[in-house]
Subunit: 408 residues, 2 copies
C-alpha cells in the first residue's frame, strides 16, 4: 500500500549508523523522572540541591556586566576567562597548564566524542575498564574503535595483567580513575603509577575522564594521571600523554552543558577544529554563568554540601543493601561518586527484573550494557545521588522483595 | 633536543583529521570582535539589539517556574514543549508536523553535523550551491562526502543544468534556499518546484538549511522545500525527503546554541542516537529560555525589529558600494539575510587584501573558502547585520580606498 515514492530512510543511512543504538539508560531517564518513581537509574545529581537563588543572581550579574555579548556567538575554544580559571585550577608544582591547554566543551560527553573523532580510526584498539562508561562505548564505536577490556577489581584496572592486551598494540587507554561508572571503584595509587609507566613505554595515549573526582566521601584524594604523567618543563610548557576531560555537570549543574579538555596544545588545536564543525562553540550564556559562579568561589561552598548529602545517600544505600539484600548478592563500596554495582547470582538476569521493578516504582539500570564480552547480565547499576536517604532505603527494600519473590 | 618520550601527537591523529582545518571565518571573528573594528566578517547578529532586559525576566520566570529542573539533565530529543511549539509552527495545510518529527540541537551547526554523520559515508556525493556555507563543507568532508557544485545565479542553483551532476548519482542535495551564505541569493519558486521533482525522481534526500528565512526585507516569502515536498497523509503522518534545519541563532540569540531538525521519524530517531553520543542533550536552561521567549510571542515582537534594522544596514551597504566601489566590481543584492558577495576583477586576490583591510580596521571574509573547484579568489563576503549603518558606510569607503590604492 506504500506509494512508490515514499522515502526508505533506513536504506539511506551510513553504515556507521548500524553501531548507533538508543541507550537504555537515557530511555529509562524518561520514566525515572516521574516524581512517584524512586530512581536509582540515571546519573542524575540531586536537583533539589541546585542553588537556584544563587543562579538567578549570577545570571543577573552576567547580563548586567556583559549585556548582549553574553548572548552572542563566541570563540570555539571557549571563554578566555573560563579557560584561564581552569588552567589555574589544574596547574600544580609538576604541571603548568595554560589557556592554550584548555578547550571548553558541551559537557564531558562532547569532550569524549571529539577525542574519539580526532584520535581513532577503524580498528584502533583502546584499553577500557570492564565494565565501563556506556556512552563512551557508543561514541568511540562509531569512530571505529575496538575495545580491549581490562580485568578490574575493587582497586580499578588490574594493570599488572595487561600483557596480553599490550600485544594487540592499543593506541590509547580510556580510564575513569575516580569512582568510575558503573562500579564506583577507584584506581589505586600503585596502579596509577604503573599505568603511566606502561603507557609511556608503549607510546600510547591516556584519556583520563574525571567527572566524579571532587565527590569523595571518605579516604584520601589520589593524584590524577594527568599530574602523575607530567614532566615539569617550566616555560617550555606541557608535555603529557594524558588527554584529561572534566565537567561542571556533577559539581555544579548538568543542564548548562559545560565541560572541558586539558591536553597538549597540538591536541587542543585539533579538537578545536573538530568542535568548530560539530557545533561552532559551547553556549555563551552557560559559560558566563559557570564562570560567574566558580570565579566567586561558589564551588568551595557547594562541593561540601554535595559531599555531605551524597555521603549520607551512599551510606543509606549501603546500609539498606546490607539489611535487605540476599546473602548471595555482592556489591561495590565506592569512596565517592554516584554509583555502585550490585552482582546477583549468575542465573538472575537483571534486565528481566527491570519491568517488575518499574511496576513497583523503582528504577535501576541493568549492568549488562556497560560490560564488554557479554558479561554482567546479573548486575545492576544503582545511583545513590538522586534520591533522598529515606527513599533510598524504601527503594532497596522493594528491590530486595522483588528478588525474594523471584527465588520461588 | 627533544626527549625520546615526548608525545608526537600529529602522528597519533586519525586520518580524517587531515580534512579538518581552522576556519578563517572563525579565526577572524576574534580580531573582528574588537570594538574599534568595523566588522563585515562573521555572521554576527547585532548584539546591541538583543533584548537583555527581556532575557533577564524570562530567566527569572524559568527559574521560578521550573527551579532545579531547568538546570538538570534533560532528554536527548529536547524539551517536549519546545518540540511541540516547533511542530505547531511548521505545520501547514499540506504538512502535519508532530513532536516525533522534531529534534532540538546545539544550534544549526550541530544539526548539519549530525545529519552528515547519519547520512554520509566515504565517497557519497552531495549537490551543493557553489559557493556554499563553509562550515557545512568542513562538517561533511570529515563524514566522507564528495561535493558536486551546482552552477548558481541570482536566483540560486541552476537546477535546469543538473543533468551532468545527476549522472554522478548524488545521495543528497544541500540547499540554503533563502538568502544563502555567502551570496545572499534566494532560490526562485520555479526552481524550488523543479528541485523537489528532480529529487523525487532520483530518490535523493534534501537537506534544507534555513537559518535566515525569517529575515526577509523585501519581496514575498516563498514556500520551504519541506512544504513543497510534503504530501498530506493526515493521521498517517509525515512523508518527506526533506531534512529541514533551523535555528534561533539569527532571530533570537546565537549564544543559546538552540537549533532544530524537522524530518521523518526514522531520521529523527537516528539523529537522536547520534546526538546522544555527541553531547547527551542540548543545554536545558537555554532551551527553557528559548521556550519562555517564543511561547510568549516574543519572536513576533522581535523579528520586525531585526528586519527594520537589518534592512537599513543592507541598504546602507548597497548604497555605499554603489557610491564608492569601482565600476569593475559587482555584487549580489539580497532580499534578506545577513550577507552579500562582492566580485572583484579576476586579477585581484581578496585574501591578499585582507591584512591591509584589518590594518585599516575593516574586517571581511575572503570568498575563496566558500567556493569549490578553486573559484572565488576575487570575491569578498560582506556581512551587513553587525555594524550600524553609518559604520557600514565608513567601512565600505575604506575598502574602496584600499581597492583604489591597489590599482596603482
Amino acid at each position: 500500500m506504500k506509494p512508490e515514492s515514499e522515502m526508505n530512510w533506513s536504506r539511506c543511512f551510513a553504515q556507521r549508523t548500524a553501531l548507533m543504538r538508543r541507550s537504555a539508560v537515557r530511555e529509562l531517564l524518561k520514566v525515572a523522572s516521574r516524581p512517584e518513581m524512586i530512581s536509582f537509574a540515571g546519573g542524575l545529581p540531586a536537583a533539589e540541591l541546585f542553588p537556584v537563588a544563587r543562579v538567578k543572581s549570577a545570571l543577573m550579574a552576567v547580563l548586567d556586566g556583559s549585556g548582549g555579548q553574553a548572548l552572542q556567538y563566541s570563540a570555539t575554544e571557549g571563554l578566555p576567562e573560563l579557560r584561564d580559571w581552569l588552567a589555574r585550577k589544574f596547574s600544580t608544582g609538576r604541571l603548568r597548564v595554560q589557556r592554550e591547554n584548555v578547550l571548553i566543551t558541551a559537557g564531558g560527553q562532547q569532550a569524549l566524542d571529539l577525542i574519539g573523532r580526532i584520535l581513532l580510526e577503524e580498528g584502533d584498539r583502546v584499553i577500557v575498564e570492564n565494565p565501563t562508561y556506556l556512552a563512551l562505548l557508543s561514541a568511540w564505536r562509531t569512530a571505529g574503535a575496538e575495545f580491549l577490556p581490562s580485568p578490574c577489581d575493587s582497586d580499578g584496572m588490574r594493570v599488572e595483567e595487561w600483557k596480553p592486551l599490550l600485544k594487540a598494540k592499543p593506541k590509547a587507554v580510556y580510564c575513569v580513575p575516580n569512582f568510575q561508572n558503573p562500579r564506583g571503584t577507584t584506581l589505586s595509587l600503585a596502579r596509577r603509577k604503573r599505568l603511566v609507566a606502561l603507557v609511556r613505554a608503549h607510546s600510547m595515549a591516556i584519556v583520563e575522564d574525571n567527572p566524579y573526582g571532587d565527590l569523595r566521601y571518605n579516604g584520601g584524594a589520589l593524584p590524577n594521571l594527568l599530574e602523575l604523567d607530567a614532566r615539569n618543563r617550566g616555560a617550555s610548557g606541557f608535555d603529557s600523554r594524558v588527554i584529561y576531560t572534566g565537567t561542571f555537570s556533577k559539581v555544579l549543574m548538568p543542564g548548562l552543558r559545560v565541560g572541558w579538555v586539558i591536553a597538549a596544545p597540538a591536541v587542543i588545536e585539533k579538537l578545536t577544529q573538530a568542535k568548530q564543525a560539530a557545533d561552532l562553540h559551547t553556549g555563551t550564556l552557560s559559560q558566563h554563568l559557570a564562570l560567574e559562579l566558580v570565579s566567586r568561589g561558589f564551588l568551595e561552598e557547594f562541593k561540601p554540601v554535595l559531599r555531605r548529602n551524597y555521603r549520607r545517600r551512599r551510606d543509606a544505600m549501603l546500609t539498606a543493601l546490607e539489611k535487605y539484600f540476599p546473602g548471595n548478592a555482592t556489591w561495590t563500596r565506592p569512596e565517592g561518586g554516584m554509583f555502585l554495582l550490585v552482582t546477583l547470582p549468575k542465573q538472575i538476569n537483571a534486565g528481566e527484573l527491570l519491568p517488575a521493578a518499574l511496576e513497583r516504582r523503582v528504577a535501576f539500570v541493568p549492568g549488562e550494557e556497560f560490560h564488554l564480552g557479554g558479561a554482567g547480565k546479573n548486575t545492576l547499576r544503582l545511583n545513590f545521588s538522586n534520591a533522598r536517604p529515606e527513599r533510598i532505603e524504601g527503594g532497596i527494600k522493594k528491590l530486595a522483595k522483588l528478588l525474594a519473590s523471584k527465588r520461588h
